[in-house]
């Protein structure tokens, strides 16, 4: 059983913040591990995105996804092209939490598979931590809906959560959780749903300190599958370059 279609590499926690007049170039990857002859073993998913802060409250991103399903003997194929919109609802840091809203349309490039719309809120909270560091907590709660040709009428739910300890801008260890229900109309039992959780390490570096323009960010994580429908393990990484004009 595949991860949340159509972009498995979209196992990432989104921020509610928009950076006006800033370009972002982002790459996400996901590799799964399971029993040798399992359909969940050896799958690869990669996304490549370009985004821009169009206004102080609206960011637009265009993405393509490439995937490989090992058991099916599939080589890398273009899976989907996606338009993502993030709307920043509240000014950062002004209120108790930061709030954004996410709207995505993903056009499937696989014959027989439906396209998809994803919508939902993003909440982020900075809080006191320990070791003299603050903490950052983010939750995405999205509803997904199949659309277009080959749609099965399924409505799904995807929840992603992450908590990080901001020890240093280059080193922010944390934990994250991803929970996916493909069909809220027939959720089944918990073991029929996809749940993955594990450690993550993130950081950012302003290249201006090295005399170069822009900023680079990274996230690396390992996820443990918690249910039968989840791969036993998965490695994910994310690299991002930002440049403002």
């Amino acid at each position: 059983m595949a991860y949340a279609p159509p972009a498995a590499a979209e196992l990432k926690v989104r921020s509610p913040l928009v950076e006006w007049r800033e370009f972002e170039f982002e790459h996400n990857s996901l590799l799964t591990f399971d029993r040798r002859k399992s359909a969940l073993n050896g799958n690869q998913s990669y996304t490549f995105e370009v985004g821009y802060g169009v206004t102080p409250w609206w960011q637009l991103e265009i993405e393509i996804e490439v995937e490989t399903q090992a058991l099916a003997g599939q080589n890398h194929r273009l899976n989907a092209r996606t338009i993502e919109n993030t709307f920043q609802v509240l000014p950062q840091g002004k209120y108790w939490a930061d709030l954004g809203f996410f709207v995505e349309y993903s056009n499937s490039l696989i014959r027989g598979e439906p396209s998809e719309i994803v919508v939902g809120p993003i909440v982020q909270k900075e809080a006191p931590g320990f070791f003299g560091a603050t903490t950052l907590h983010t939750v995405n709660a999205f509803v997904t809906r199949e659309v277009g040709h080959n749609r099965g009428g399924r409505t799904g739910m995807f929840v992603a959560a992450q908590s990080r300890l901001r020890l240093h801008p280059l080193l922010e260890p944390g934990l994250e959780l991803y929970y996916n229900v493909n069909d809220v109309g027939r959720p089944g039992r918990l073991r029929d749903q996809e749940v993955l959780a594990g450690p993550v390490l993130a950081g950012a570096y302003a290249l201006g300190r090295a005399g170069l323009p822009g900023k680079v960010k990274y996230e690396v994580g390992y996820l443990f599958g918690a249910t039968e429908q989840s791969a036993r393990g998965a490695v994910r990484w994310r690299f991002e370059y930002e440049l403002a004009f």
Binding site: E19, W20, R21, E22, V89, L90, P91, Q92, G93, K94, Y95, W96, A97, D98, L99, F101, V119, G120, P121, V123, E126, P128, G132, A133, T134, L136, A141, F142, V143, R145, T155, M157, R166, P169, V184, G185, P187, A204, Y205, A206, G208, R209, G211, P213, G214, K215, A244, F245
Partner: protein, 117 residues
Amino acid sequence: MTVRTAFLTIAALAAGVAAAATASKAWAADDPAYALAIRSHRFSPAQIEIPANTKVRLVIRNEDATPEEFDSTQLRRERVIPGGGEATLYVGPLPAGSYEFLGEFHPDTAQGRLIVR
């Protein structure tokens, strides 16, 4: 769970968070404010001292004709400020320490530090 229930649940959660967040609006208006200017691609003052464990407003005015981006990975704040424009950033509560910021468009000269005591 039906489709309608799923959408209503998500919408209620989002509305609840927005309500809880904006309930603190009156408090936010009382946050102490600190002025920072960008002048000849430099921050003035280059160092600002703020109290620990207190949310503050940084009111940044770009007095140059060209845009500058206030950027601090330590503070997790970045904002492009057009030439002649102004931006307000909410920072904190922060533990005691020193937090660097720079102007991404002129990193050699636009450098500053927030001292939290």
